[in-house]
């Protein structure tokens, strides 16, 4: 199902998705994305690089935020996404994927969305914006 442009208003929230970011999921991502490196796959290897433990790749955060938008608006609707990695994303804990519509553009039938990945404590580890094309 693709969300209709007419059904979206500025200020609408994208339904938040809570996700337990398991280490095995991060490893599966690292393998599938060609990023198999100690910092993304094992705690000891990551500590040798000066990190507190294994972390999720920044690309994974972008992928999860894109998936959030597609679960809301439909597959293939995300035209652009930009993200800033503000903090390490640490697995083995729950994160939340969130978004808010900030602008509607009638001429292109697109909406601008602020997106972010936050910790369970509400700290925004990754922030960004996206352009989503809507049908209807």
């Amino acid at each position: 199902m693709v969300l209709r442009f007419e059904d979206v208003l500025e200020g609408d929230e994208v339904p938040t998705r809570g996700l337990f970011l398991a280490k095995d999921q991060v490893r599966a991502y690292a393998r599938a994305a060609g990023q198999w490196a100690p910092r993304f796959t094992d705690d000891e290897g990551a500590r040798r690089e000066g990190l507190p433990g294994m972390i999720a790749p920044g690309n994974m955060s972008v992928g999860l935020l894109t998936a959030l938008l597609e679960s809301w608006a439909g597959a293939g609707t995300v035209r652009r996404i930009g993200a800033t990695f503000r903090s390490l994303v640490l697995p083995d804990r729950t994160v939340r994927l969130c978004g808010t519509v900030t602008e509607k553009h009638v001429e292109t039938r697109t909406v601008e969305v602020d997106v972010w990945l936050e910790s369970d404590e509400g700290e925004r580890w990754v922030i960004g914006t996206a352009t989503v094309g809507l049908g209807g």
Binding site: Y29, M60, A67, R79
Partner: protein, 142 residues
């Protein structure tokens, strides 16, 4: 220290690589690692396409151009962010040509001193010449 940049290096291609053909298994493994369950991303068959961000797995053979200003220590670079313009989806059997250019260099001064940012642009096209994605990779260097 101010950056001494040769303007000619901005936009200069410093790497090019070709990948593929892409397999269905690769596309499905990537989508499942993101928790995707949609059939278009996870079920083999004529309708299978890659998750839009699958393109980030392509990154060339050299991370940085060789002629960056010496002020920038590429060994101490951190992944600061990413911007992706999506084009046509990838499908099994596709090949991807990746062209890497230095898109931007700038300096920011914060509480802890100067930081330098480099933006590397990866432009990806498929075997039909269609744009798959334009990915701007932003790195921070202290």
């Amino acid at each position: 220290m101010p950056l001494d940049i040769d303007p000619a290096i901005i936009g200069e291609e410093f790497d090019r690589a070709t990948y593929g053909p892409i397999t269905a298994e690769e596309l499905i493994a990537y989508a499942r690692a993101l928790g995707e369950t949609r059939s278009e991303y996870t079920e083999p068959g004529p309708g299978l396409v890659g998750h839009p961000t699958y393109c980030v797995r392509y990154r060339g053979t050299r991370w940085f151009p060789e002629n960056l200003p010496k002020t920038i220590d590429v060994r101490r670079g951190m992944d600061a962010g990413k911007d992706i313009q999506f084009g046509v989806p990838l499908r099994p059997g596709d090949t991807v040509e990746l062209r890497c250019t230095l898109h931007e260099i700038y300096e920011k001064t914060g509480r802890t001193g100067s930081m330098y940012f480099t933006v590397l642009r990866f432009t990806m096209t498929n075997q039909r010449g269609e744009t798959v994605a334009v990915v701007d990779n932003r790195f921070m260097h202290r």
